[in-house]
Symmetry: D2
Subunit: 130 residues, 4 copies
DNA sequence: TTTT
DNA sequence: TTTT
């Protein structure tokens, strides 16, 4: 049975990607992503903000491309699936951690962003619709 | 700055939803979801399978509807955003946990939809958020 | 340059799927999907409703599975990309039409899943594409 | 009955946005979006490419922000729902057209894209996974 | 051309 | 009608 599991994130790397290789020589890159959300207002009408931190794991050529071009701070669009990784720590305790297995990505931002000249991008103040 | 954070899951409840209310009387439902994925084959050509377990949190009328109609095993489609909740445990250690804040949902399910007995599904009256 | 193009639809088949084969014997199924949305209320407070009709095109094993199990009315979850198909009509006029190229699907449906009679749903053996 | 209808697009404006206002003074912006996809290879091993052209319609403050900051060529991320608009043309013929009703958007690209210095972004040669 |  |  295969159910649906799809996640879309746009954020910034929280650290430089680490690239390793499996014994069969497949690249594996891991990095953190920070995703900011506007999340309504509090009782006093002040904008509330929320930051999601997640680890991303990429494989193969995608891992290598990301390791080559991204660093701490790079804005990135990531599509993937959410995974729960489980293991035992040194004391024999069960641990688990959610992470995103990357499926596709896009560099966002580029030399020429093609915004109309002489205007600054607005503060992004759209609330997340949920 | 508001970035993109969207997740789509189709799976089954791992336990009955718990419904609570905030001091201002907003319903809050929490439940677990199990999402199965087929994830290629192993070296011997055997299908590999992966199960994601995540906690889902729903608010307001959606919380109440889910608590009313769903139970352990109910298949459900969930859309939301991934959130990292952080707190301190009793020993003063920082803990954190990923969970999904529900935005929209759909009852699904084939022959056996596993909805609580003897109740009819509601008119679907959630507005599209846009 | 490859940009993002992803669409998620849940609706009902508007007609039985048609299955054809390419010269190289790849299955191609086409069918219509109707997707209903609640879309706010009108001035008088009456719920407004909107129906999207789109054509879906599926290839390969997925085309065959859909043709085998679905018929007019079957509820279906579809993921894919939006495509603009262009051609010339008999008068030499340029015509074009948006349709969805299927990437993944799930059988859904509540009490009545509207699957063709007397057939069991297949083991779901589509691999997650990542 | 409200089904799922969600579309995610990343592309470039094909023309400057047009901004109009409803009688009740709600902004309405329309613009075209071009979305490129890599779509496998042809028989000779040459990369195949596909361009989607769609019209996008935005309302309210979002309409105004887009009209203010975007122009032909601007890269944009768009989330919304697919809609089939139907009307009668001057000859009394039924016409219809798919378009995307915008729900959320992001400017992609910015003054500082934070890519490692002195390297050019790669040719994007990842195939779309479907 | 249209589904529940 | 089309963008990079």
């Amino acid at each position: 049975m295969s159910n649906l599991n799809r996640i879309f994130l746009m954020g910034n790397l929280t650290r430089d990607p680490e690239l390793r290789y499996t014994p069969s020589n497949v690249g594996v890159a891991t990095f953190g992503l920070a995703v900011n959300s506007n999340v309504g207002k509090d009782a006093d009408g002040n904008r509330k903000t929320e930051v999601l931190f997640v680890d991303i794991i990429a494989f193969g050529k995608q891992a290598e491309t990301i390791a080559q071009y991204c660093k701490k701070g790079t804005p990135l669009f990531v599509e993937g699936r959410l995974r729960l990784r489980t293991w035992e720590d040194k004391d024999g305790n069960k641990r688990s951690k959610h992470e995103v297995v990357l499926n596709a990505f896009q560099f966002i931002g580029g030399a020429n962003n093609n915004i109309k000249d002489d205007i600054k991008l607005p503060e992004d103040d759209e609330d997340v619709p949920f």
